[in-house]
Symmetry: C2
């Protein structure tokens, strides 16, 4: 059976350079034997800030937007988070999207790709995100990808112009997610 | 001259137990000789997710909500962030409110108070927040306060029932912010 991969593009900026990267990664994952891929853009998803009266770990959501997001995340076997770094950390929309749910994430692998206009590629944001992911029971794939100088890699038509080494790195991350899917989880 | 302290209540949940804590801290800071205090509730502020086309470090905001938030933060000499912990980290609304601006934070002291329903008091969220604060040029006060079992401290009328030791701890944090205000910043 083909595993269902949900690619989450974590920027909500109208001028995001990460959206082309996320689209390219989603296409790459579709070409990858292991995955049937869906891309969700957190800007288009347009969740409000967390507004459930109860705790996500208790379930019992009252808002339709929460129930819809729960359905989307429940339908996935694994995730690929594609995130910019703001001020040394992950972005608010991504944290918010994670915080809305709980059981829906449990035990599922997540691949991590960060990017930045500068030289770090946003790697510190991945490090900061790690304890959040494990708190909700996600299993971060050991191979991550951080892309520096992202704005240099987006063409005037908004297309992602991937250098060859990035394609190989993206496949490595996708393989890493696939390996986790195949690995048994201790009960 | 009395320093202007902006207390930022970082939860947007309708049932937040942190709002009474933030209100109590704002009152305490007003009673404190050093501060003229304003309380802003991020739930009421209702910023959207970051949506400026440009980078905050470049200024040149296009949205009225950004200009308003810029005015509010510019008017403050120091801050007190009152934040819950979600999944081991700070909340999305707080990160978003920080990420919207840049120059407005530079060089100003910030006191940190976290809380949780559990036993940690949300202290890990403060640790996670630290590099974000320094990235935008805020000066975190060395004394922080983390309040465990927050739901046990809120009465049925939504009032914060502070044990005596918390009052002393809150004053220590406020003093710590005041000390930073008085300390010279290297040019």
């Amino acid at each position: 059976m083909t595993a269902r991969l949900l690619v989450i593009s974590a920027s909500t900026r109208p001028t995001s350079a990460g959206r082309p990267l996320a689209q390219w990664l989603a296409e790459r994952a579709t070409g990858h034997a292991k995955f049937e891929t869906t891309l969700v853009d957190l800007g288009e998803l347009a969740l409000p800030f967390f507004d459930e009266p109860g705790l996500p770990a208790d379930g019992g959501y009252v808002h339709q937007h929460t129930k819809d997001w729960s359905s989307t995340v429940s339908a996935a076997d694994a995730f690929l988070f594609v995130l910019p770094m703001y001020n040394g950390g992950f972005t608010a929309p991504l944290k918010n999207a994670v915080d809305f749910l709980y059981a829906e994430w449990q035990g599922k692998p997540v691949g991590l790709v960060s990017y930045s206009a500068g030289t770090s590629g946003g790697a510190p944001a991945l490090a900061m995100l790690h304890p959040v992911l494990t708190r909700v029971g996600l299993r971060p794939a050991p191979c991550t990808l951080s892309v520096p100088a992202i704005t240099e890699l987006v063409g005037s038509a908004g297309e992602f112009r991937a250098p060859a080494h990035l394609a190989a790195s993206a496949d490595t991350v996708l393989d890493s997610v696939g390996d986790l899917l195949a690995a048994p989880v201790a009960a």
